[in-house]
């Protein structure tokens, strides 16, 4: 997408946490030590990208603006309450952690919605049981992608998730990964992506 091309990052008007350049790593350390302000900043930084992300992972019938947004917000609040339990492995990995938390919550939600009494007859007929991601690449490919992703180093996972799934600009990605420049972040993401597809190929035999 044009707005995300290298060199345009600085022009992006309202990316999350744009005005605050403190690295996520530092914020996380403060949050884990009980600094409420840091927790709030982390929350503000992650909630929109995750809300956007979640709409790609929920099937049409389970999606609804308020539902999805509330679901992500609620999950983040819960997760940040227990942020001291989060053990950062090396650099980053917070994205992967938060993403997993939302993914778990979505699964729970799907199960819950799956037995809604009104999920019968016509309303269900229109409904599409698959998430946009499932529709786009199918379950098998998702599984292969997820498996390969989880076999990467935490910083690699964060680079992929941040850029591919959360749509961070390279500047935001640099901040997430603790890289000095957007270009360094792009290079890191590039290397991680090559590693990812190698893992996908390996898993495929």
């Amino acid at each position: 997408m044009g707005a995300d091309l290298p060199g345009r990052d600085r022009k992006e008007p309202d990316g999350p946490g744009q005005r605050d350049v403190e690295s996520t790593h530092r914020l996380l350390e403060r949050a884990r030590a009980g600094d409420e302000e840091a927790t709030n900043q982390l929350f503000a930084r992650h909630v929109r990208p995750l809300q956007r992300w979640a709409s790609g992972r929920l099937p049409k019938w389970a999606r609804d603006m308020t539902d999805t947004d509330d679901l992500v917000q609620e999950t983040l609040l819960q997760t940040f309450k227990r942020i001291e339990q989060f053990e950062p492995r090396g650099v980053g990995a917070l994205n992967a952690y938060l993403r997993q938390a939302v993914l778990n919550r979505i699964r729970e939600e799907l199960r819950r919605k799956g037995r809604r009494p009104d999920a019968t007859g016509l309303s269900a007929l229109e409904a599409d049981g698959q998430s946009p991601l499932e529709q786009a690449i199918g379950n098998e490919a998702i599984e292969r992608y997820e498996r390969a992703l989880s076999s990467l180093r935490p910083d690699e996972q964060d680079a992929i998730i941040g850029r591919i799934e959360f749509g961070y600009t390279y500047e935001e990605l640099a901040r997430e990964l603790g890289k000095p420049t957007p270009d360094a972040a792009r290079k890191a993401a590039q290397r991680a992506l090559v590693r990812l597809i190698e893992e996908m190929a390996r898993a495929n035999g």
């Binding site: 956007r52 229109e126 490919a141």
Partner: protein, 793 residues
């Protein structure tokens, strides 16, 4: 020149940047070792594509992506000015072609002025940055293509209604000075309110713009002259409308090809399918109107969408009248036959006539001819069972009379029928001869005796002949959507053998049937009944079994069911097989819909009722519906032991123990060795408090079901014996679950249930609701497990 590794890195960079990638070239440029990597990269690019979306677009707040295509993406968005949700379509603005950009915006604005109930309302069009946005009314519903893909079928009258609405919409588009250029089933929504809405104008162009490239539509819908390079016109839109109606009625296209070159070649060769060859029930005048729209020569088509619409509207009267004309024709025949016929054909009950097809007699001595005749009888039964207004008893019950002295009064009373069809089959010189008698019972008045003859390739035509003969007599209407097939006689014989194995049930027979069906479809890939048979046999094989572990469905099952439905959306077995697939995916709503559709299409296939009950209704705990379904099955197949046994099972779950006992005793009277009956009898007896009788029955039952005996011992005071039984079989979690429940040991019963759930969700789902497990009812762990197993509460 970059190295291969560098090229791959560049490609990865492009994916990260979101830049467009020509995947075909990328793949072909890569060396073989890296081709796979490129393919995986493409998957990651798709993941990125799904997740990337803008937060806002002008004054619109983007909520979610709802569709995408080569043109761009469509999002659901909130329009703060209109204070409502809208659909926002975003297209990339080509920086090298300002003219194109302004033309799309201009056209969007022109369309915004078109106010028509069957055209999506466009609210505005604008370019912001490098993208053009068109925002419009958000229509909630499904596209015609989605409906077709989900197995929907449309009657001629429905197709006419869709056609009339779309012609009117396209006429309005033309009147606004535009050509649509991309009319196809994907671009027509049927809203929740039933409104037919023409969508997607992103590729439309002004009528008098000769410079634009016209190959924007899906080639199957594109008029031959446009494929040949001429500009799109109102007549080429009429052509696409005609293809759309052809597609809606048949699921296929008049001119086929796998790619543009093949489609062009097919046009050049003049090879096109006839509508009535695929859907013989489409009235000839309607077929002619649609075929005129898709004439290869633009001048011979309806010249305007409005005139096409008017012709369809006239045909609508014909479609509605057709049934009456048919009825009148039948009445004429009755009158010609004199009064004697008129009184004969009325069903004595005054209700829907009920008939049975008795096993036809085999007059040949050739090996295999007996099997062939039985198979043919089954097929005749099937072909009659789908006639509207006629109820046909299941083959299973009719075959109970095979080889027994002929006694039609007995048949009438046992099967509860008003008519029987019986006869004989012989073959000579590759000709098949069926002599049939249609008899009213119990009076035994022969209504007609007819000889039906066909060559070996046209066996299925005989079914139509017999159906037509009955239709005329009974004044019922043929559901005119049956397809006729030409099949090599050997292959048809093989198909009948497969059907026979399939009808015999049991894992070995189903496996053999699947193998034979597979052979048939590999030689006759368009023979829908064989695909349906294959799907049905594979569904049988994946049916919940008696083993501890659940068997996942054969991966061929879904494909076979889908293939059958593509070829013929009215095959009950295919819908049922798809229902089994959905059930194994625990897609309960779809599973239920598929089974109900199958039952509606052919209520005489009672194994479908049983599969619906066991595969869907029991795991989700809808016992009331299960009781209802099996009662319907029992009426359709009154002599079926299998139906009675499943019914006994369901009666127990419903607490109707006396009726369960009655059923079991009835089965034992007809076949003392019929498997598993002792289990249900034993259970019904112990729940009725008849412990001693229950023990005697369960002690002689198949020992692998010791759990029931254990439960009985536990609740009848012999707790130590029960505990020993469980201790001796530590691995049989599901069996022990019952014993622990009988012993009142909640925790161990739950633990055994959890272990069962790990290997067999179906059994866990079904058994947790059993009356034996009542002690766990209301336990919060059960609610959690249901959640875990994706079961409704």
């Amino acid at each position: 020149m970059p190295t291969d590794d560098e090229r791959l890195e560049q490609l990865a960079g492009a994916v990260l940047d979101g830049s467009p990638v020509d995947w075909k070239t990328a793949e072909s440029d890569a060396d073989p070792a890296r081709q796979r990597l490129v393919q995986h990269l493409k998957v990651v690019a798709a993941v990125a594509g799904v997740h990337r979306r803008p937060d806002t677009w002008g004054h619109l707040r983007v909520i979610e992506r709802i569709g995408s295509g080569s043109f761009g993406d469509v999002y659901r968005a909130w329009d703060s000015r209109l204070d409502r949700e809208v659909a926002l379509k975003l297209l990339p603005a080509d920086p090298r072609d300002d003219r194109q950009t302004s033309s799309i915006i201009h056209e969007g604005r022109l369309l915004a002025r078109v106010d028509h109930p069957n055209i999506v309302t466009i609210h505005g069009a604008e370019q912001i940055g490098d993208r053009i946005g068109l925002w419009m009314e958000l229509v909630r519903g499904r596209t015609l293509e989605e409906m077709l893909a989900h197995g929907a079928s449309f009657s001629p009258a429905e197709a006419v209604r869709i056609g009339v609405d779309l012609c009117s919409a396209v006429e309005a588009v033309h009147a606004a000075g535009l050509i649509h250029r991309d009319i196809k089933a994907h671009n027509v929504m049927v809203g929740d309110d039933g409104r037919v809405v023409l969508m997607d104008f992103g590729t439309g162009r002004e009528r008098d713009d000769p410079s634009s490239s016209d190959l924007t539509g899906t080639p199957l819908y594109v008029a031959p002259e446009v494929l040949g390079g001429r500009s799109a016109t109102a007549q080429s839109d009429v052509y696409s409308l005609g293809v759309l109606l052809f597609h809606v009625l048949t699921g296929s296209y008049p001119v086929l090809g796998k790619n543009l070159a093949e489609i062009r070649a097919a046009h050049d060769a003049g090879s096109r399918a006839s509508l009535r060859a695929i859907r013989p029930d489409v009235p000839a005048p309607l077929a002619r109107i649609i075929e005129r729209a898709i004439d290869a020569v633009p001048e011979r088509r309806h010249q305007r969408a409005a005139s096409f619409g008017a012709a369809l509207r006239n045909a609508a009267h014909g479609v509605a009248r057709r049934r009456l004309i048919y009825g009148a024709a039948a009445a004429t025949i009755v009158l010609a036959g004199g009064l004697a016929v008129a009184w004969r054909v009325r069903a004595p009950s005054g209700q829907v006539p009920v008939m049975a097809v008795l096993p036809f007699e085999n007059l040949d001595t050739a090996p295999g001819s007996e099997e062939f005749t039985d198979g043919l009888t089954n097929e005749i039964q099937r072909s009659l069972a789908v006639i509207d207004g006629l109820s046909v008893r299941s083959s299973g019950s009719s075959f109970a009379f095979k080889g027994k002295p002929r006694n039609l009064r007995d048949v009438a009373s046992q099967l509860g029928v008003d008519f029987v069809l019986e006869g004989s089959v012989s073959q000579s010189n590759n000709r098949l001869q069926v002599d049939a008698r249609f008899i009213q019972v119990p009076s035994e008045v022969v209504i007609w005796t007819k000889r039906f003859e066909r060559d070996g390739r046209s066996v299925s035509a005989i079914f139509d002949d017999i159906s037509a003969a009955l239709v005329n007599e009974l004044r019922v209407t043929l559901r005119g959507d049956r397809r006729r097939y030409e099949l090599d006689p050997d292959l048809y014989y093989q198909f009948l053998r497969a059907q026979r194995f399939h009808a015999a049930r049991g894992a070995d027979n189903s496996a053999k049937a699947a193998e034979l069906f597979q052979q048939v479809v590999s030689r006759a890939p368009d023979y829908a009944p064989a695909w349906a048979g294959l799907a049905s046999a594979l569904a049988q094989l994946s049916r919940p079994s008696t083993g501890e572990e659940i068997i996942p469905p054969d991966p061929r099952l879904r494909r076979a069911a889908m293939k059958a439905l593509q070829l013929d959306p009215l095959l009950a077995e295919a819908h049922a097989a798809l229902g089994a697939v959905y059930a194994s995916d625990r897609e309960w709503v779809y599973a239920r819909m598929s089974f109900l559709k199958a039952i509606a299409l052919n209520p005489s296939l009672t194994e479908i009722h049983s599969d619906f009950v066991l595969g869907v209704l029991m795991p989700i705990g809808d016992i009331k519906e299960a009781v209802r379904q099996l009662e319907a099955a029992r009426v359709a197949d009154p002599l079926s032991l299998d139906v009675r046994r499943t019914q006994a099972h369901v009666f127990i779950e419903a607490g109707l123990y006396e009726r369960a006992i009655e059923n079991c005793l009835w089965i034992k009277q007809h076949d003392p060795a019929f498997p598993y009956v002792d289990i249900w009898l034993g259970r019904a007896l112990y729940f009725s408090g008849r412990f001693e009788e229950a023990r005697r029955v369960l002690e002689r039952a198949d020992p692998q079901f010791f759990g029931y005996l254990g439960y009985l011992l536990a609740v009848s005071g012999r707790r130590e014996e029960a505990a020993a039984l469980a201790a001796n079989n530590p691995d049989a979690a599901s069996r022990n679950m019952l014993i622990y429940a009988g012993l009142g040991d909640k925790d161990r019963a739950f633990e055994a249930l959890t272990r069962t759930a790990e290997v067999n969700w179906w059994r866990a789902a079904t058994w947790m609701r059993r009356p034996e497990m009542a002690l766990l009812r209301g336990d919060p762990r059960i609610a959690a497990l249901k959640k875990e197993l994706r079961l409704p509460e």
